[in-house]
Each structure stands twice: as C-alpha cells, then as structure tokens.
Symmetry: C2
Subunit: 412 residues, 2 copies
Amino acid sequence: MKRTSRDIRTANRYGVLRQIIADSPASRQEVAAATGLSLATVATLVGELLELGLLTEVGFEDSDGGRPRGLVAVHAAGGALIGVDVAETYIHVELFDLALKVLARADTELKPGMKQPDQMVAHIADAIASVVVQSGVEPGTVLGAGISMPGQVDREGGSLLYAPNWDWHDVPLLGLLAEHVDYPLYLDNPLHACTVAELWFGAARGRSDVVVVNLGTGVGAGIALNGELHRGITNSAGEWGHTTLVLDGRLCHCGNRGCVETYVGAPGIMRNLRELSPDSPMLHPDDQTATIEALASGAAAGDPVAVEVVRETARYLGAAISDLVNLLNPEVVVLSSWVAGKLGRPLLDEVREAVARRALARPLAATEIVLCPIPTDPVSLGAATFALEGSLASVGQKAPRTASKTLGDRDR
Amino acid sequence: MKRTSRDIRTANRYGVLRQIIADSPASRQEVAAATGLSLATVATLVGELLELGLLTEVGFEDSDGGRPRGLVAVHAAGGALIGVDVAETYIHVELFDLALKVLARADTELKPGMKQPDQMVAHIADAIASVVVQSGVEPGTVLGAGISMPGQVDREGGSLLYAPNWDWHDVPLLGLLAEHVDYPLYLDNPLHACTVAELWFGAARGRSDVVVVNLGTGVGAGIALNGELHRGITNSAGEWGHTTLVLDGRLCHCGNRGCVETYVGAPGIMRNLRELSPDSPMLHPDDQTATIEALASGAAAGDPVAVEVVRETARYLGAAISDLVNLLNPEVVVLSSWVAGKLGRPLLDEVREAVARRALARPLAATEIVLCPIPTDPVSLGAATFALEGSLASVGQKAPRTASKTLGDRDR
Ligand SMILES: [Zn+2]
Ligand SMILES: [Zn+2]
C-alpha cells in the first residue's frame, strides 16, 4: 500500500545497477536474466543510467549468429561517493568511485571528552574535505555522502534522536553538517549500513530474504526482505540484541535480563570466558579487542579453553540465530562486524552446527549461514551506498532540503 | 528485485479494493487520499474493478461547488468466495459475497481415525458443494476457494508437504480436489490465512508493518510488511512458537527446550496453572478448551489463582512479544486465535503492561497491541481472501493449472 510505481522503478534501478556493478561488462539480456526483469524494462533503465553517466557502453559481443549485443559497464569515473562511519572512538571516512573502489581514506580519533555536536560536525566535515582533496576527484562529481551514526536516527529529518555514547538528544546533525558540506547528505545507523552493503556488494546480492547478524560490542540483526532493507515503522527494526534468549538471565544495560547481547556481544563473550576459566591469560578485563583476538588465536591453535568458549558462544548464538531462521525463513544469514571477523571460521562452523541442531527442518534447509564476504569496512561502504541509493531515488525529483545538488541537477 | 511492475499493480489493486470494502461508498478522491496512490492510478484501478464487476457505481456526491464526484461501492453480488478452514478435528467452510458477508456455512466433524487424503478431499468437496447450494449463488459467479490446511504447504504446487495431524507427506491436495471441485483453488496455512484476514478486514488494514500473534494449541506470528504477508523463502515464516524464550527451559514437541509455545500455547498455559495450583478445579487435564474457559471465567470473577495464571502467562507472552517489537518495529501487534479470544481483555491488559516493562522505548512507543477485531472465523475469512487475491492477481493472465475459470475468463 505504501509503495508507489516510483518506488518500484527506483528499486528496479537499484537492481540493474547492482547487477552491473557485480558483473561488468554485461549485455542487457544478461542483466534481464540475472534480475528477472523484462528485457524492455532493463533496456529502459540501462538507458537512464547511461544518460546519467553511471554506466558506459563498452562494445559488443556476438550472439550466436544473431545481431551483436551491446555491452555496458559501470562508469567508474562517472561519480564519487563518500561513506562516513562514526563510532564511539573514531570517524572513518572513505571516498569511492562508482565501481565502489576506495580512492581515499581519512581516519580521525575521537577523544573520550568529545561530547559537543559542533566538534563532531567539524571533524566529519574536515574528513570529508580531506578525502575529496586526496582522491583528486572533481568536487562536482561527488554524488553525496552517507553518514552512519551509532544511535537512534531520524532519517528523513536528518537528526540523531538519541546517541547514548555522547548523551545527545535530538541533534539536527545533517542540518549542522550542511553548513560545512556542499554535497547531498544521508543519515542512518551502522546496522542498516552493513545490511545495505551486503545487499549491494555482499552475501545478500540477488537474494530476496536476508538477515545480517552484527556481532560487535553491541549486536543487532539487519533484515532485508524482497531485496530491500526492512527499517520498521520508526527506523528502529533490528534490535535483536535486546530480544530474550534466557528469561531472567544475565542483566543487560537496557534494563532487562537475558538479552541475546549479554551472551554473544564482546562483553558477553568475555563473561563466557570468565565463567569457564576466571584466571585465563586470554582475558584482558579492560580490552575487548585483545580478549577476542586472544580467543581467536587460541581457538586456531586448538587451546581447549578457547575452543570451549567459542563453542559455548556458538551455542547461545545458534539458538538466537535459529529464532531468526524460524521466524523469518531467510535465504541467507550473514555473520558480520568485528567479533565475527576475528573469530571467523571456527565460530562459523560451531554456529552452523548449533543452528542445525535447533532450527526447524524446513526453514533450516533453505538457509545458508556465511561470514561477511566484504573485504573492506562494510559500514562506510554501506553509508556510501545510501548516497548512491539516494541519488538514484532522486532522479527527476527536486533536490532534497539538505542537498545542494543531485544527479538530476547534474544531468540538466 | 523479485518484484515486477505486475506485482505492484496487483498490490495496488488489492489496496484500492481493500479500502473500498472498508469504506463504501467512496469517491476516487477519497480512495486516493486513504491509500496514498495518485488519483490517476486510483481512477485506472477503479475502472478495472468496475469492468470486472467487483465494484459498482452508486451515484454522485457534491464537492463544494466543483463537479460532482462519482461514488463507487463494492458490488456484493458481483462474485462469491469460499473459505475452507481445515483443522485437526473439523472442516469449517464459509461462502462469502464480495462485501465478505457470510452467505452460507458448513461444518464437518473429523473422526480421529480419518487419515486418508481421499476421505478428506471428499469431505471438503461435499462441504463446498453444500455452501454453494445453501447460498443460492450461481456457481458461475464463484471466484474461487481458498483452503487453509494445518501443516507445511507448497502453495505454488498446491500440495501439503507435511501434515503432522494425519502424518501426511507430499499430498497433492489441490490436484485431488480439482477432480471434484470446478473452482480455482488456493492453498495455504492458518497462520497466513489469519494474517491476510487482518490485512484486508482487521487491525492491519491500512497499516504497513504488522504482526499477528496466534495463540491456540500451537502458536505462531504472521508477519505483514509494507501491507503484504511475509511468507519467507519456503513459505514457512512465522514459526515464532519455536523461538527460544528460556534457553534450556521446558521441553517442546519440536525437540528443543524453552520454546515460546511451551509457555503460552494452551498446553503451556495449563502447565502454568498446574505449577501454581496443582489441584485447581479449573484444571481439566484432557480438555484444553474447558481449562482456558475456566481460567477466563475465573479471571473475570477476580479469582486470585486465575488472575495470577493470566499474569504469569502474560509475563512470558510479554517478553516474547517484546522480542517481535524490538526486532521488527511494527505498527500493530494483533492477538488472535481462540486462546486470545477466550482470555480477552484481562490477557490484553496484562500483556500491554508486560511489553511496556520490557520493550525498547522507541519501537514500544510506535506499537499498538490489540485483540483481533474480526467477529467471525478469521481463518476461513483469510482463506476466502486468498481466493479474492488470486482472482485479482490473475486478471489478464491465463488460468492457473488447478483452476477451470478465473476473473479474466469471466470477463471475456
Ligand atoms: Zn538488552
Ligand atoms: Zn519448539
């Protein structure tokens, strides 16, 4: 009911570009076969994308005696995208070409005392300016910048409703940033950014129903259905970390007990280790990263305590992932974020076994569980993708309030 | 990616008809305002529905000095729909007019020994023939029959992959039924039927993201996103009853421990009662219905044991519903099926309090929790709706394999 023909055209435009980014050069026939769209629709959308300069013609291929077929590819230099990943302790900014290759990076450390929105905005603006200069791209070709902020985000309004790290309430972040940055700006959270990155460039590409399980200090589950991010009615879908795994179990910072996060987030895994072996040298009480890395090395070396902690963590994680499999019946579950990256294959193997023991047979048989295949930071990549999606969505529309130019403008 | 322009046209056709069924007569302008579709789109779709005989023109209304606006209404006699609700112990069949008013009913009791698909098919066919005769509708006006079967359903293939009640495996139900019944047939399960009934006629109408929590002997959660049922990749989404609420908790018939169903399904509620008061006269060990009814009367009369059992059940249910709220961020959660119907308001009040204590503030504030408002059997209504959706989806398409006629044929 809430979808219009414009929405479906935009989604199809995403689908065609996604496919061509994945597999260039391609004929319109190949794109039609891969996306399930009609050849006529693909031809129209490819025409639009060529006109916008996002694609380019790259010759012809023979088609078994028929007319030679025109091939198109991503026009890597046809535009630049900026992805901003703001976390508690750092700002990580990347500038991408349209093939989503990183052309420049900027990293800023955030001091613990940094609490003012103005300071944050200045840091972000500086980093954005820096990647543009470093990359040497013409500023006029930057299609936009996506900003991922940890907290509750009002996308449309461009404001942070609540950011627990800095105790921010109702900060009009994009409005402040627009005073320094002259590109279209897009705001969302890291969970949604990771999920969109998987949709465009990762394990969710071409799949319809996908869950991206984010394992870091906090945990969450990004949900993509029909090839699109499910945001929920107030953009807060995905709070799987605060679903109950053990009623009346471990106390969680959200105020409840037994939340998934308290068993499989980094502090939860540290607790799993402490309960099994309180004096383990792998335990660095004030350093989550060091502890998870020690567990990863230990598990790789066959250390029995490390192996057992990974197994116990996978038992919790397997039960919680089985819940997602039973409830949502997805095609793929992706394990993402830094804890999954560090624990890697040993965690994946144990999780697969744990899910196989617990999920219902029918959804289980339809679900693949994989590690995030994206080699770079999925959050800044996903943030850049918000800018790409935004510029594709605004084709033919008037410029958004916070933006000074859009693809549509460039085209005139 | 998997959605085509045809899908969006079909969804919009559903949306327009849904709105007009809800609120007849209506002008095209009112329908456009209520659905968010453009007036031009609404005018086209209303034109189609008029031509199909599903709507009828019913006069004009003044529009403040402008041109009088044409009013349309559902053409109740424009077609008939049959809904079949098959459960472990009964077959319940209803025939509806297009305003979804029940014109005839047929009930068949299923003997415990009834295990053969052929017997079941004969019973269903007889009941369908009976409601057509009773209602006096012209057989040629029957648009189709939807069949809800408890078990794992292959919708497209029209077969029951697994039905635990009768130990059926891979029974080609629609194929068998088509030898006796000459209407288009549609197959799905009761959870999906209930959810579609809420979307068209109940608490989910006009809402985008909705969860229908089904509380019966078994429990499940039908999920509707963007105004459409989420089926999952193998049509088995919604197995919320077998998500974990208490890791290592009560043993479930699925083989796991601590599943939601073991705490809030009818047998689970009986166990809640037994644990609190083993000798309670409300406990009828072999009769779920009598026990739940005794609890309902007890709670209404202020009996402290009944009140406490409802509260304890709501504590479990509230935690499990909070998980849905945190994960999916829905607009509405509907409590449906017979246990929710019998425990009614006292259960609803306790559940609302329990969810308010547990869910995260932002999704909580966006979610309403209500009892199913549909006054008749939502499963047969939902099954009939599958037939309505099927006939709207097949407009202009060739007849489905199991069907002898469709709206498209009637129209020629
Ligand atoms: Zn929590
Ligand atoms: Zn179970």
